[in-house]
Every structure is written in C-alpha cells, then in structure tokens.
Symmetry: C2
Subunit: 255 residues, 2 copies
C-alpha cells in the first residue's frame, strides 16, 4: 500500500483538571513523540473542559480536518467522565453497554474481587460501531470510531493504548531532523538563516534560543523527509554558523 | 468596579517544536495556575503550528469567545517567528517598527554590545494600536491588542510577562477547591458522588484516580466560588467516603 504524502493528526485533551492547573499535562508531549516516530504530522492540540458541547465541537471540527484524531481523558466511571457520551453524540450513534468491553472488565473485576456496580459499568458503554482499544493496565478499554481514537487520561494507560494502536495506524514519510548548535544569539543568525530557509523551502528550519545557560546559545533545527536534501541544507547552515562564530570570535559549542 | 460573574480565557501555544515533541510544553500549566490564582476561568487551550493561517484562525475564533486570549511563542528574531505578523493580520492592522519597543531593545543591545541588524529589529515590529508587555528577562517586549496578549515562548520570559500583565487583568470570583482522598477505586465512589453532584450543581466535583501508588487511591476534588456551599458539600463527600472505607474495611488515607 502506498502512503499518502502526509498523514496528519490532532489531539484533544479533555479535562477540567488540566485547565485549572491541578494536573500538569504530559500526554501532549507523549502523543507528539509517538506521532513523530510514526511519521504522522501532529498539526493541532486542543485542551477542552468536561463539557459535552465543547468536546462534541472539537471532535467534529478536527475529525473533518485531519487523518487521525486522538483524545485523552474522561473515560472513567464517574459522572464527570463524559467523553464516550460526547463522541457518540458527535457521530450521532447510540452508546450501549458493549458485551466485549463488559467481559474484559468483569474478568478483571473477578480477579481483583471488585464489586460490579452501575458506576463501573459506565466504562463498558461504547459508541455503536466502534472498535475497542485494549487497556493492558487497568482493563477499561478505549475505542476507535471512524478516525477518532478515544483513550484514557492517566498517562501510563494512555501510553499503553497508544502502543496498542500503533499497528493499526498508517505512518507517513518519516520526518528526519538535524540540529546545529550556535554560540551566538538568534538575532545574529536570524538573517542568514532566513535566506537559507528561502533557498530550501522543503527543509523546515526552526530557531530555538536556550535561556538560562552560561552563555548565549541557539539551536537551529532542520526537518525534512528528504534525507539528501536535509544533509545538504544542514551543511549550509553549519557553514553559516561557523562563519558567525569566527566573526564573533567565540568558540563553537560541542555538537 | 464590580466583577462580572465569570471572567474567561483561552491560551494559544504557538510552535512546531511542541507539536513535534522536541520541546515539552510547560506554559499550559503555568498559565492554568496563573488564571486560577486570579479567578480567571481558563476554558480552552490550542497548540498550533508556525503557520500564519492557523494562528490567525485560532486568534479570531478565541478572541470572540473569551474575555482574554493569551498566546505564547513565535515572537523572536528569526523567519519562523510569525506571531506578530499573524496577530496583526487577525486584527487587520499594520505591523510597523514600534519606537518604544525599539528603544527598549537598543538600550539592552547597547549594554550587551549586541549588533543591531534586520533580524533583531523584527522583534520591535508591533501591531498598530497595541500596548507593550514588558520583558524583564531579555528586553524584547510582548504586546496586548484588544483582548489578545502576546507573550514569548521561553518559559522564564513567559512567566515574567504574565507577572507584568497581572495588574492589568480583571480577576473573577476566586474558585476555591477542597480535596477528599479515598482509599477505594473510582468505581466504588462513582455512584454516590454522582448523586451528590446532582444535589450540589454549583459545586463542581471531579474524580481523579491515582495510578502507580501502593494501593488504590482516588482523589475527589470539589470546586466552587461559594465557600459555605463548598464546605457543606465537602462534608457530605467526606461522609460518603468514610462510609465506603468502613464498608470495604480499609484504613482511610491521610488527608
């Protein structure tokens, strides 16, 4: 099967606890790394509150725009876990108890002597037509419906679900990156870097100042899926930085 | 001056380096804490790439919807720093060199013996009609135009700019929170917690499982701007949790 040139994705992080600052998100970074490894271009992230309409709007806006949508959070057993409800609403489908999800949960509950109750059975409600995403950590499954992949918010469960998903996703052309370190400020390399960016439109060049170090440092990051072109552009950027170091009379940083 | 009932905000994090996973964002958490401290309800966060149209769309969607919009990232001297351009475009105004911003930068450059060049002067381009946000760390200012507050992406600079902004923002009614710790699973408290949430619609109740600890733990977080109501609801939740501990025969956790 041939890969389309670009496979894109968006992430929706669901939860008041992120927006209040009570919980510091780590799922954005994990999803970004996961996508980069698979050659999927993560184009956008939204963090939304535990409000049905906000989740529905984000799911519908993003699933129309990108190859894949991932969501994290809001699939537990309590009243504030409304992601399944919202995704079912976004797709206009029912949200019945799924027998396979119920069996997965009951098997785990039997092992651990956990009481089956209405709150826990909320976690077996899966939108009609969805496939389950296995949860190797705590049994309660995520699910995929259309191009939307619904995962837990707890980071270790979310990462286990991403791993379970990986074989089902189509990767794109892997984007490679090279970093050139400069011991001068961004403003010194900014002009010539812009000129090199114009010369190599298919190599994306970024400039990142490093604050709080002993001396001024700038990291120039080049990204492209064309390795030969990337090497050529990196050599040009390195030569430009070498010249800037010589002009400023500074020692080049270790690469 | 009387405060409106709810002051809302959105944050736009701008930068390919967040979406590629190369840089792990910490500005979302810092902005969330900042808003919570001021009684501002952070309703939504978007992370977008270094593409003008994506930034313009996010700025225009969110500034119409919330009291305040904050942005971080993309105000440095290099070609990939396009936030000022995008915000000027979103507001339909010009982006000239701002004399006050230029003076701030030149004063710093004089101190540090830094060459003035075209790349560095990009940082003095400020949308027409905007006010500057002082940058005590590295001089290059942010700016406020309408309800949109444009800040640096480097975390220490971003936090300095938030501090500079604080006196200019109108805070809302401060939201207080109480946490009740339970040594039983979410599924055990889920049903009665949902019933208590229905009884106290003005106290927002959240349930957060704590994974990876020695034993099952759930934190129940109650939030409200009405302190008396919050105390009353917290006492009810605590009594419900005490009963669950007694039924399960487990030792209550230390609060």
């Amino acid at each position: 099967m041939s890969s389309p040139a670009t496979i894109t994705a968006a992430l929706i992080v669901i939860g008041d606890e992120i927006l209040s600052g009570r919980t510091k998100d780590v799922n954005i970074g994990a999803t970004a790394d996961f996508c980069t490894d698979l050659g999927i271009d993560l184009k956008e992230v939204r963090v939304v509150s535990d409000e049905t309409d906000d989740i529905v709007d984000a799911v519908n806006a993003l699933r129309a725009r990108y190859t894949y949508v991932f969501t994290t959070g809001g699939i537990g057993p309590t009243h504030d876990d409304i992601t399944a409800d919202a995704v079912a609403k976004a797709f206009g489908v029912a949200l019945p108890i799924n027998p396979q999800a119920r069996a997965m949960l009951e098997a785990r509950w039997k092992e651990t002597g956990t009481e089956v109750n209405e709150a826990r059975l909320r976690m077996a409600r899966i939108p009609e037509g969805a496939d389950l995403i296995v949860n190797s950590v705590s049994a309660a499954p995520g699910f995929r419906i259309g191009n939307v992949h619904v995962m837990a918010g707890v980071p270790i469960i979310m990462r286990a679900m991403l791993e379970a998903l990986a074989p089902t996703l189509q990767g794109g052309k892997k984007v490679l990156s090279r970093t050139v370190k400069a011991a001068v400020g961004e403003g010194t390399v900014g002009g010539p870097l812009g000129a090199l960016q114009a010369q190599y439109p298919d190599v994306k060049m970024g400039s990142y100042p490093q604050m709080g170090k002993d001396r001024v440092m700038t990291e120039l990051v080049l990204r492209s899926s064309d390795e030969a072109l990337l090497e050529e552009a990196t050599a040009k950027v390195q030569a430009m930085v070498d010249a800037a170091h010589a002009r400023a009379g500074v020692t080049p940083p270790e690469n």
